[in-house]
Symmetry: C2
Subunit: 142 residues, 2 copies
DNA sequence: CTTTGTGCAAACGATTTGCAGGATG
DNA sequence: CATCCTGCAAATCGTTTGCACAAAG
């Protein structure tokens, strides 16, 4: 998984004539090892925790490059917050209203329903279910 | 429908100690009569089409007031685009990748599935299915 | 040595805010 | 006449861009 993922960035960037820079690699690796779809701000502080790795502008540039080659996508779950995700496979999201915890919901969880429930005429190509509610921990602590 | 809807703004704003100003009313009425969840920019040009009705700042203020009292909600379908919707009932969205056409999908279309398919522990309170694809017109003209 | 990328700082666009004047209760 | 709201203009925040220097092919 980690091998094929780092392969992915090298192969894919090269295939698009883009270089595999330390900054791009660091951004992608960080997205891969996190499950919480961080914001640019979170990426910035996380990457530069132990010494300077990348500037803010370069993180934006890197994310743009990674998105253009299809390694990364944006995730819109909250108003005014843009998150980034190295899982470009179709999947859905659960977001805890209390703690903000975000977790992925596998695509096949809702797989069968969209095709069968949409009105005729609309041709679905992609869909995402965004569920908001309470996660286990927050339900318990109430 | 239109009677109960305009009642809604008068009653709801007053119940929250807010005034029903021409600008707030115009914003809400415009959202009600549209089905396409406009952006602030679209609201601004639409409202001021035939003479000045509201400034940009006041549209933002009005939308904030209307959101606070629960008459309006934001809709996030595209990156970097914030839309507003006077339909605060739960519902889903279809967005045409080609022409940008947006249409509502009734909530009961997917009603039965979220409750039954989520993993135990997560307590759903609200969910939205965002479908992207091709609408009738765009499929035909291809 | 040519091309591509970084990082700073300035620019930008969408949204928010401060404030003086206007409308409302 | 006290309160709330509008509208302008300035401020703010996230993101993008221009440009000089650095790194990679």
């Amino acid at each position: 998984m980690s091998i094929s993922s780092t392969d992915a960035i090298v192969d894919t960037l090269k295939a698009h004539g883009l270089r595999v820079t330390p900054q791009r690699f660091a951004v992608y690796a960080n997205l891969l090892e996190r499950t919480d779809h961080p914001t640019v701000e979170q990426l910035l502080s996380d990457l530069n925790q132990a010494g300077p790795v990348s500037s803010q502008a370069t993180i934006y540039n890197s994310l743009q490059a990674l998105r253009e080659v299809g390694l990364v996508r944006e995730v819109l779950l909250e108003e005014g917050v843009v998150r980034y995700d190295a899982n470009v496979e179709q999947h859905h999201h659960f977001r805890c209203r209390q703690c903000g915890h975000i977790e992925d919901i596998p695509w096949n969880t809702f797989h069968e329903l969209v095709e069968s429930h949409l009105r005729p005429g609309l041709q679905p190509e992609r869909y995402e279910v965004t569920v908001t509610g309470c996660c286990d921990r927050c339900s318990e602590s109430q």
